[in-house]
Symmetry: C2
Subunit: 330 residues, 2 copies
Amino acid sequence: MEVKEVKKYAADISSIKEAHKRINSYIHKTPVLSSESLNAISGRSLFFKCECFQKGGAFKFRGACNAVLSLDDDQAAKGVVTHSSGNHAAALSLAARLRGIPAYIAVPKNAPKCKVENVMRYGGQVIWSEVTMQSRESVASKVLQETGAVLLHPYNDGRIISGQGTISLELLEQVPQLDCIIVPISGGGLISGVALAAKSINPAIRILAAEPVGANDAAQSKAAGRIITLPETSTVADGLRAFLGDLTWPVVRDFVDDVITVEDKQIIEAMRLCYEILKVAIEPSGAIGLAAVLSNSFRNNPTWQDCKNVGIILSGGNVDLGVLWDSFRK
Amino acid sequence: MEVKEVKKYAADISSIKEAHKRINSYIHKTPVLSSESLNAISGRSLFFKCECFQKGGAFKFRGACNAVLSLDDDQAAKGVVTHSSGNHAAALSLAARLRGIPAYIAVPKNAPKCKVENVMRYGGQVIWSEVTMQSRESVASKVLQETGAVLLHPYNDGRIISGQGTISLELLEQVPQLDCIIVPISGGGLISGVALAAKSINPAIRILAAEPVGANDAAQSKAAGRIITLPETSTVADGLRAFLGDLTWPVVRDFVDDVITVEDKQIIEAMRLCYEILKVAIEPSGAIGLAAVLSNSFRNNPTWQDCKNVGIILSGGNVDLGVLWDSFRK
């Protein structure tokens, strides 16, 4: 009997490099912006990886594209299904359209308007659910049964994680001197891919998660040494309300150096700085990395004093302008 | 008696290449963004040169930096003066700070708040004027007399034109296949530099000016074959209210293929598309190129049918968020 080698993590540098080959001609190689004004405010050199300029307005297209292109023809024929607050849904719709297959999307009723419009713009079929994760998952599995389509989870999937990891391949080529990368954390797909690739390229680089206080399951999980989920979440960052999965948790446990939690008001201030200084539209989830680097808990922690060159992933830009303006006025 | 060769234009490809060497380590090489959604809407391949991400939030830093660094030490010592609706003022303040000299700025009372804040952020000394060009010029010349500083005109200056022309050196390296470039026109400094450099690199490339109907002096000047100024202007594009100067007019006359005029509502719609699809904050003046490429006068003109690859200069991103939101709601 052959003994199969058990892979310890859902992705690795080879699967991430394969993903990059697979998706490279479909994605945008997003630019890195910098600002002397923000460097002065933070006391570091900040390098903003602008995934808000990715297709669909968020990093999610990398993973969705990799997953959809990884399916064999028989699997793909009946289409794909997911549940999502919006960015994965739009990304999956776009990836499915590229491949010429249907995408069925269970969308919670409270998803931001611009994200749902993106799904529709890319030809995804919206099926509304209640806002709870339970409802989202049950609506998705009903569609699954009816259509025979393939479920592509927003983050707890090795193909998704590998796709998101391609960000690090680009970023460390664009800015090789990074000491650390700050990454928004929600279900953990983005940070898992980013951490696995970055630490494989440069084992000395440090990976920091940024998380809202009102959805701090990753900070709690790291402290407890096991996955903690929360009875409810409360944060302006609609993209950061998911919990770690069984495939992302081991990567977060082993490769994420620390979690910085920030208040919603810090997120909103970071959105303002992104708009006013960087001239970039950033959704709350996308701005949390800047909020983290400006937070006192990061500034005053001696562990991070020598992180001079800081990569910050601006993960997405899908924010309704009226919502942005309202949040600034509060 | 020696006969001096009279230069026909205030700048040329050599002065632009010299400018690029002079300013290259101080400016951002701005990225070029593209969007399949906007390609589909316009029926062309659009390449957005994002000068909104230039230092100070607009292309103006290129020219100001070149002019300030071109001064000899004696000239520079007493500082620089200008009058500006804001972007040149902020750019000059920043360039002066780099050189360690004072910048005196005559700012009209109606200048956008964020632009005046930029001047102050970069250490420029604001001297308020009335909104008319006459008042702006007279305030500037009073400061000139009092300080002995050097006047640096916002556009009617070969050093400024050469600095702005460096955009074409970058853009045609980033996207060599461009058939035409659409450029906002106001005083003509930007388009003069862009046209001189681009047509020197690729004589077949076409240069189109984009101008608001309510400040259409360039369109009128091209039609009349001489500089036309207007008794007043009326447009949301606060950066496009100036008139051609005696150094920019000959370049516009000889190197600009046509002028497209657009309504303010088209400019506002273009700002919305920039925000919602490109995820970029663009001021009205900056969005006019996109408005032009989407206008019926451009779409339906057979002359431009074969312009498949279109460069669009997003010239600046300094727009107060509240003003942006108000303009969308109207």
